[in-house]
């Protein structure tokens, strides 16, 4: 969506003593300072971070805070439509935003493999800067560690996020009632297939781009329609099927999905067909599922569709009293099937 072509960014790597990450870059001495001052501060700097204290002192942004953490280990670190850096920013922003909170502050922890190209690290920092600015959040504290070559794969990033929950907003799976409508903000499986078709040594080239995006703006638009959103989550690992199963179990309702209701881009559907993978189980990084009372569903849907990150939003199903804790989809032939939790890794079909 807001994918940055980092190759076109006109910000070259500052002159450094080394071309690659050295163990000393994480050892707290001169090289550590060099890394912070030449790569991280120019990208992430703000008046809190610039103080370079051991901690960030923050203005209390509200009565209730939303706080979350996530680690990012995606392989490959650059994939069609994004990279590990913007994923680390957007992913944590989204986890904060799913509570209805306004995301404000992030921490960033890097674990770098000795020998990683500083050029690559710089590119990733650039796209993190862009993603954070676009979403209106500040990176206020951070940490860098370097491990021996082979002890991690290129780089891992942990981000934590803090947001302020507006008064009157109380979004939780526990609030779901039978008769609610389930809305998805757009097409599913884009991110997972973008990564998978890059990672697997496949003989076809996919046109699939990751959907990585920060959803806090979309959530703002939704809260402007009504604060009465029952539950909201972003269906990342495990995909839509996993999120819906969590909703069903945690609220003890049944979920009925309409036939073929979940939107999938044709190229994503094609890639899923070839690999024998059900798009309902594939990860998304820029989509949300909201459960709302039936009375506000239409208005909520059209507000979402007016935002570019929700233009393909759709009502995909509803909550029901029967089949408690289970997700069921009608098959179009007048029969029903269970949409179960995945076991783990999606396994391809063999014939």
């Amino acid at each position: 969506m807001n994918n940055v072509d980092i190759n076109s960014m006109s910000c070259p790597l500052p002159k450094m003593d080394f071309e690659t990450v050295q163990l000393a870059h994480g050892a707290g001495g001169k090289l550590s300072s060099d890394l912070i001052e030449k790569i991280f501060l120019p990208r992430f700097g703000n008046k809190t971070l610039d103080k370079l204290e051991d901690q960030a002192i923050l203005e209390n942004p509200g009565k209730r805070l939303a706080f979350t953490t996530d680690s990012f280990v995606v392989d490959p670190i650059f994939f069609p439509g994004g990279n590990i850096g913007e994923l680390a920013i957007n992913g944590t922003i989204n986890d904060v935003a799913m509570s209805g909170a306004k995301p404000l502050y992030l921490s960033v922890g890097f674990i770098l493999e000795e020998g990683l190209s500083l050029e690559i690290l710089h590119k990733i920092a650039l796209s993190m800067e862009f993603a954070a600015k676009q979403a209106g959040v500040q990176i206020v504290t951070g940490d860098t560690k370097v491990v021996n070559k082979g002890s991690c794969d290129k780089l891992f990033i942990n981000t934590s996020g803090i947001g302020a929950v507006p008064d009157g907003v109380n979004i939780s799976a526990a609030n779901i009632q039978p008769g609610d409508k389930i809305i998805i903000s757009g097409t599913v499986a884009d991110h997972g297939m973008a990564v998978m078709t890059t990672r697997e040594d496949l003989s076809f080239k996919s046109q699939v781009n990751s959907d990585t995006a920060a959803l806090n703006g979309l959530v703002d638009d939704m809260l402007n329609v009504s604060k009465d959103i029952r539950a909201m989550r972003d269906p990342t690992r495990g995909g839509v099927a996993t999120t819906l199963n969590e909703f069903a179990r945690q609220s003890n309702v049944g979920i009925q999905l309409y036939t073929d209701s979940v939107p999938v881009k044709p190229e994503v559907k094609g890639a899923c067909e070839v690999l024998g993978i059900d798009p309902l189980y594939v990860a998304n990084e820029g989509k949300l599922i909201a459960v709302v009372p039936e009375g506000i569903a239409r208005e909520m849907l059209s507000a979402m569709q007016s935002n570019k990150l929700g233009k393909d939003a759709k009502i995909i199903g509803e909550t029901v009293t029967e089949n408690q804790g289970i997700v069921v989809q009608s098959t179009g032939l007048g029969a029903n099937r269970i949409v179960d939790m995945p076991i783990g890794e999606q396994l391809p079909r063999i014939c």
């Binding site: 496949l202 179009g332 032939l333 029903n336 391809p348 063999i350």
Partner: protein, 364 residues
């Protein structure tokens, strides 16, 4: 999506269903041979909408499910060896051996990799000349040409660090074994469309005649399966015991001759044990002597493996169509996809896995 959506169209499905209802006058038992068809039937709920006269029983056509435990244990032994890169289609990784699966070997440090094609495995061998690369060659006639091609190419390029652990099985001997059983209930077969795309259907013609069973090579989408059932019911009602092809867009009577030739060049037919069913004469493919350098069983010393199946698993009875998965006392209790007792609960084509995944609701 073209060539896909039209084979999933509910309106067309309803027309065919109406035609089936009009045609059927008495009870019939039809077996879909292939696990891919079972999966489609259960996923789309086709068994729930058919007239009560028609009973579908699920056949042995899941290569993962019928791969014998000894071979799985051999795979685990080879994959655990240092200096080996063990490659396999993803389905095989979670199939339980005697005391672990390939995922566990991987977590213990074995280099186990999922590939989508045996040629990908050959590429790994090319790129890692100091390692032994083994491909787990399981499957029916469908996957045999690709697996034969990998050995053929390896020989042509002089690649010596590639081998296959072969457990190939053939469909027609299994079909006749089931029909010859005194417990047989099958009155018609939906033959596996992809197998027929390679092999054609000439070899089914004498089977249909001898055992008086109509055989319909059938595809995998809901419309394919419904149309296959309609053709089978028409043939049954007319008492016509012949082969009629449903899968027109993929299957010809002679099949794919170049693919068959390649398979015959690299493999030969021999006796093969089927997990849950036992040994079926002339039902497997083995690597020919000329290619024995590419036979992982000969390359690695894994000969003396003796195995014991779980006595709670009735997969063999299910694979013969004598019981349905939910009739097994362990189904959904001791045996789940997370903790499978047998391979039928693992594979995406296994009947137990399909029931567990899509239709547990009926039994809850």
């Amino acid at each position: 999506m073209k060539y896909l959506d039209e084979f999933r169209d509910p309106a067309i499905a309803k027309q065919i269903l109406a035609e089936i209802k009009k045609t059927v006058t008495k009870p019939w038992v039809i077996m879909e041979v292939c696990g891919g068809q079972t999966h489609s039937i259960i996923k789309n709920g086709i068994d729930q909408i058919l007239p009560k006269e028609i009973e579908l029983v699920h056949g042995p056509g899941c290569p993962v499910c019928v791969t014998p435990l000894e071979i799985i244990d051999k795979a685990l032994a080879i994959a655990s060896l240092p200096n080996v890169i063990f490659t396999s289609f993803g389905d095989m990784l979670r199939v339980p051996g005697s005391n672990k699966d390939l995922f566990q070997v991987k977590s213990e440090g074995g280099d186990v990799r999922i590939v989508y094609s045996p040629l990908e495995s050959l590429k790994i061998a090319r790129n890692n000349p100091d390692k032994e690369v083994v491909f787990f060659a399981v499957g029916f006639e469908t996957t045999a040409p690709g697996n034969a091609m990998a050995i053929h190419q390896a020989q042509r390029e002089g690649i010596t660090n590639f081998s296959e652990l072969v457990s190939h099985v053939l469909v027609p001997p299994a079909m006749t074994t089931l029909l010859s059983s005194p417990k047989n209930r099958v009155q018609a077969y939906l033959a596996a469309g992809h197998v027929c795309a390679i092999m054609g259907w000439r070899e089914y013609e004498p089977i249909a005649k001898k055992y008086k069973v109509p055989i319909v090579p059938t595809g995998f989408e809901p419309i394919d399966v419904l149309e296959g059932i309609l053709l089978a019911v028409q043939l049954l009602e007319e008492g016509c015991y012949e082969v009629t092809n449903q899968y027109l867009r993929a299957v010809q009577r002679d099949g794919n001759r170049p693919a068959q030739d390649l398979v015959n060049k690299v493999y030969e037919v021999g006796n093969r044990k089927w997990r849950g069913i036992g040994e079926i004469p002339q039902s497997g493919l083995m690597i020919r002597n000329e290619y024995s350098n590419y036979d992982a069983e000969k390359k690695f010393n894994v000969g003396n493996i003796i195995t014991q199946e779980s006595d709670k698993c009735i997969a063999g009875i299910i694979l013969q169509g004598l019981k349905k998965p939910h009739e097994c006392p362990a189904f959904g209790k001791e045996c789940t996809p997370m903790n499978p007792l047998g391979a039928t609960m693992v594979s995406s084509e296994g009947a137990c896995a399909a029931y567990y995944k899509y239709q547990r609701i009926k039994n809850d």
